[in-house]
Symmetry: C2
Subunit: 222 residues, 2 copies
């Protein structure tokens, strides 16, 4: 083959390959940006219903904001309680406001072993038949026959986010984590509501097992 | 087609299909049994070198066996120490015998956060530049400038096991976990020695994040 013909052929091949690479790169970048989800770490905390707030903190007590959390209108309070199991207790557990329909204590499995209880892994709000626990506040004490859960791994998102991600409410997905404690978290529940901001919630056990600091973006796998 | 010829043909097809199913079933069963690994949970513990054992427990102290652990010749001792970091301390941390060339403290990330230290994720024995920690025993106290690590996820196996699994010493593999906290543990190091019994070792953070009790068989993925 003559040199100029060879060059023309090489050029044509090179251009075709470059086009291909460019097309693929754009696709890859788009896909990645679509499937990345910010993550927040939920430490053990307590949601209170009105009657229990009255007992633990006094009638019509007004809780003070410590800091906002990732979901609009929700905040961790300055106020803390002690939670007590048959084996031991854990002090300085924050209240998360506003008040809810039903009191709920969320702990990690590490906490549960320390307390000597066996809470089920549940969605927030699904406390029927969950573990018993005692809560001690500055003004009083309550014993819950049920109400302590290990929160499931879940991703909050708006309907618009769900549409963008191509997932549905209650769908189970997997989430991939990079780094020295890399891996995949399975059984992650999608939770869709107009009230939700895009954020994955994991407990401190998942955070520590996967060496997650809470500032990362993780990759959703359907 | 006459009925007897039809029957003969059906019989031949059925037999062929059955043979195929049988062959595949046997293969599937063998593959599963090959890739299953028992798992043990390592709680925080301390390996001591002679000079440190002398300081913490007195000269020529003889450690008593509390219980055997999964690796031949190694055992958790009756004796316990307190480990101290800048933020807090953890009592009743078991010594694992026999004595080693170099003192090493193994904690989970949950422990590390409580203690206020930042140990690296390392293979056992690789303590250069790891986190400082103080150990208090019944007879004395030592401060290590380095020696505290978070042990990496690893699988002990014999050369024969490595051959059966088709993996090599130091190879990184993934391990799949089923159940309500299902997922995949990445960066799992294969450790091959004639002295090793087949067993995966994970810390309490991994155990609690994946809801592993320590009696399961997990699935190795290459």
């Amino acid at each position: 083959m003559k040199d100029d013909r060879k060059s023309a052929l090489y050029l044509a091949i090179t251009e075709a390959v470059m086009e291909e690479i460019k097309a693929n790169q754009i696709e890859v970048v788009q896909e990645e940006s679509l499937l990345r989800v910010p993550v927040s770490i939920s430490a053990r905390h307590v949601h209170l219903e009105k009657v229990h707030a009255d007992i633990l903190f006094g009638k019509e007590y007004e809780f003070q904001k410590h800091r906002d959390i990732s979901q609009p209108g929700q905040y961790a309070c300055v106020e803390q309680v002690t939670i007590v199991g048959p084996k031991s207790s854990i002090e300085r557990v924050r209240i998360v406001a506003p008040l809810r329909r039903q009191t709920q204590v969320e702990v990690s499995r590490t906490d549960a072993i320390k307390l000597g209880i066996q809470p089920p892994v549940r969605h927030s709000g699904d406390v029927a038949g969950s573990a018993p626990i005692t809560i001690i506040g500055p003004k009083g004490k309550i014993h819950l026959k049920e109400g302590c859960i290990i929160a499931d791994r879940h991703i909050h998102m708006s309907p618009a986010d769900a549409n963008t991600f191509g997932v549905a409410n209650h769908q189970k997905v997997q989430v991939e984590v990079d780094g020295e404690k890399a891996g995949v978290m399975g059984n992650v529940t999608i939770r869709v509501s107009e009230r939700y901001a895009l954020d994955m919630h994991i407990d401190t056990d998942d955070a520590n097992a996967f060496a997650i600091k809470g500032t990362e973006y993780l990759t959703l796998i359907k």
